[in-house]
Symmetry: D2
Subunit: 315 residues, 4 copies
């Protein structure tokens, strides 16, 4: 067998974490003939007393990633999935409290939304108590996200969404900007504003002694405020729209202290139809792929500290 | 300059076509403060008298793909976009009738659906006539598809959809199958049945002298029948479910003569929780990625000929 | 339990097939300390006496897709994987000859190429017989493809590749084309020509009594001819380049009778630098995503019949 | 026109940045008949005096993202592209020094590698000085990355790569780990170890007064050390392999102080062939997609501070 002595050490180990990523768990619950589903993608990441596994390959402090996978599926049975947040809290607490070598757990969850398919009978009126209701169509709306971090004493909960695509077909301008040698863009007094929202928001719930938010209600309300702020802002720049979206969430949702958005400006260019003897009165647009503007910012409740990373993770 | 004589010819040119693919056109129409949008991805493919461009590089019969792109955007202005089908019919007719060298045009369209964002005022009741309605969120439901082919005399219209993900959490069995040396699968009396529907349906409208279907109404109705057949079929195999989906469309939609589906069986495996002292009463599933069953079939109106290709195109 | 009688029948079943798609098999063979790997993605598709499974859900003639998956893995052990083609031939023959209800098998394979990682010792000279050689890096060059179809009497073998991206930075022109009302494109006497080749070629080997080609050698030679034809053609249109690529294969590879290519014209637009007081002498290009020209054609040995479908499958 | 007064302010603006992402620039240089290409994807991100654009939509301090795009293409002409790092340094310096309102610039670059296509003549021997050499095939090996950050006084350069897929078919074990109630994994004394390397390394070059590394040479050497450490480590855990890869880079490349890796454990499961009466002596594997182990860590030169973020950005 081969050598596994340590390399000579002018080299240090820094931050490290490990776990099983993208566990695709579907949980069915039954209320008579009515079924409910939760469809999650759960990623586990653990840190702690892990120097030796890096230096010598000793796994004596390592709970296998396969075990973390098993735990996800077992907990779906034992605790059910009331919300992605609640489920991830169960998991994080378990890993940190049950293994001495694990000092911190970070659980990330993607959630996919499903709608019920109306059956022929149901379509004719409200479904009766005995009618089967076990058929679903994936809604395809945005992916809901949460990330729970627990270090044995306090919690950090950052929820959010990605791939929420929105468009205003008017009430957007862009002018009065800096012009240098490389500026050719004409000013715009009426343009399409479209973006694919990636957002994260941090809750001020940090300890078990506090009452936890209603995670499901909080998500739906936050999403609604975000959409309305987008729709109702007369926009002079995407930065301004971003700020209004964040500020509206901070203003209306007392459980949230910090919001960060990453907003690609999905350019819709007005097509020049003059060569064809046609006028284009903001009617026909080319939806471009790349490059795209990218606007990113954090909006904070006054006095709060920013903790969401500058680069939002894709998972 | 370099040589472009023809290679010695024991070699023939077969079927060929060319055009501009994936023109991303967004069309806005305004009804006072209420805006409407159509968001399409249009691909043009032309065939005809094109031997010389292949043999010698002479472009004398070639309308540039760039021109076909311009035509898509100009027609969005000139004709508007009532439906993807109607828009593609305008385009196909134009290419075949305006250029002698073009004998056949095939136009493919992907359509993305957008929902309105309810603003704060609107949310409190029906939107008044003066309230702005120009804000949209992409619905993320399936992608709608159409393909129009025109050869100067008759039309072929094949519409459909892709990425419609559906699930039944019960009323699915699988047993009584052939067993050979390599069979290990246990029979199932109650399983999840889930698939990502890719479907195409061919209309019997072929000529300008016939009244054309209401394309928008036809799509919504066909989609509804497809979903209900999926939801209402007690399934002994995915093949049976597929057939019912197709048969229900043929039965209810007189304008459609042929349907083809490609249905990946998105396996949801019941997780074995026994090692953890837990029972899994059809509650916790692992959603697998690959491999997947793949079930494909055509369903036809009696006496009609099948024309949709065996392999559905992804675009 | 629910009803599964047949629907009233003005409806017929057309072409149908089923199987397990995307079985990801990696086969290791060992020659002392030197290991070899084959990395395949295998999709099985079977047809035959399958009416009842569609009409009534009876699985009496259905070999489960799970069994076809098991067979792929078992055959990797029993027969090894000399080439994707040879492996798929074993599988297709097995399904058709071992099950009465299966009349046709189509096996598709994607193959991923790996290169050896040179170790420190090996790098200093040729690897000695005892040096370990079990480390690989995925090459990332194109994906190799094959499709084997067997109906119990004759074989059809179509091989090919996808995602082979090539570029000529000169020796490409485009002019002399048709101009209509919607034409704005300026003629080009020196442009970049780039494409992402998707190609398929059909072998004239159809029966066990014929000597089969050397599949590995054939692939490497065909790929080389394709690349050289691309590089050595002074191009007046992408159609001309496509034809030369196909003709060169037909000319040089006697085992191949038909070639079809789907070539997206990956536009590289010369950037207008004049506004910045700079000239752009074919030096700086913008690589565009969409839309793209799409050029598709079949090239045939004289007298042969075209059988590769117009739309190349992505798998 | 609509209102754009500021919202009442219990809300603060935090970190923010903006720019044009994914500018796809291809630069051709010509040395007689021999052409050279650089193929980059450049993303610009600027920060500075940007409060007002968020609060009121005033663009008075905003250089448009469109201008940053133009600058990328103009600089490709004015400065050429010796290396992704050098090109990004030019850009970052320009934005910070030419605009008072811009205090920090971060430039990210993806680079795609192309190989020459050997032409028929060239293949017969070394290419002569007059033979055309303007044909390329994209290599498909990993994507090279760099990120340059400049605040007007010091530089941070983090380079790296993604999508480098590697595999050892032996010399990997995994045993001796923690077992809890949810552990079912059997210990392994000989397994496949495969991963898709995402790595970033930070240079200790921070100021113009220091001699800059040879960026091209540094990349090739670092990649080689990474690959060899992977190949030559007899692995008891992926963490150990990760550490060796990082330590070898720190040991051999004096210009690098910090390395971070994110290594998905691409599981290859030994297929159980016993039900078919076959033994599987580490020959046949199933390559799984999800879930996957995910191992992440930083390796540092002794005494240096870690600055690469825990979550590696995908772009």
């Amino acid at each position: 067998m081969a050598v596994h002595s340590q390399p000579a050490r002018p080299v240090m180990l820094g931050q490290n974490q490990y776990g099983k990523a993208e566990n695709r768990v579907v949980r069915v619950t039954r209320d008579g003939a009515t079924h409910h589903i939760k469809d999650l993608n759960v990623s586990v990441s653990l840190s702690g007393d892990m120097d030796e596994v890096h230096y010598s390959g000793s796994n004596a402090t390592v709970l296998p990633t396969d075990t973390t996978k098993n735990t996800v599926f077992a907990f779906a049975k034992e605790y059910g999935i009331d919300s992605a947040e609640q489920f991830a809290i169960h998991l994080a607490r378990h890993f940190v409290t049950s293994q001495e070598s694990i000092h911190r757990a970070r659980i990330r969850v993607e959630e996919y939304t499903w709608d019920r398919i109306a059956t022929s009978e149901a379509a004719a009126g409200p479904a009766g108590p005995d009618e089967p209701r076990h058929s679903f169509v994936r809604s395809g709306r945005e992916t809901r996200l949460t990330q729970i971090t627990y270090d044995g004493s306090s919690w950090e909960v950052v929820s959010g969404l990605k791939d929420l695509v929105v468009m205003n077909t008017t009430d957007s301008e862009f002018w009065g900007y800096v012009k240098d040698r490389y500026t050719t863009l004409p000013e715009a007094r009426d343009r399409i504003l479209a973006t694919q929202v990636s957002g994260r928001w941090r809750f001020n719930w940090t300890g078990d002694e506090q009452k936890a938010p209603d995670w499901e209600e909080s998500y739906e309300q936050t999403r609604t405020h975000l959409l309305r702020a987008f729709a109702e802002t007369y926009s002079l720049s995407l930065q301004q729209t971003l700020y209004r979206m964040g500020a509206r969430i901070i203003d209306h949702r007392a459980e949230i202290d910090e919001v960060r958005f990453s907003l690609p400006n999905k350019h819709h260019f007005l097509v020049d139809l003059e060569p064809f003897g046609l006028t284009n009165d903001n009617e026909v647009y080319f939806a471009a792929d790349r490059p795209y503007g990218l606007i990113e910012a954090t909006v904070l409740r006054d006095g709060c500290e920013a903790r969401i990373p500058v680069d939002l993770s894709n998972l």
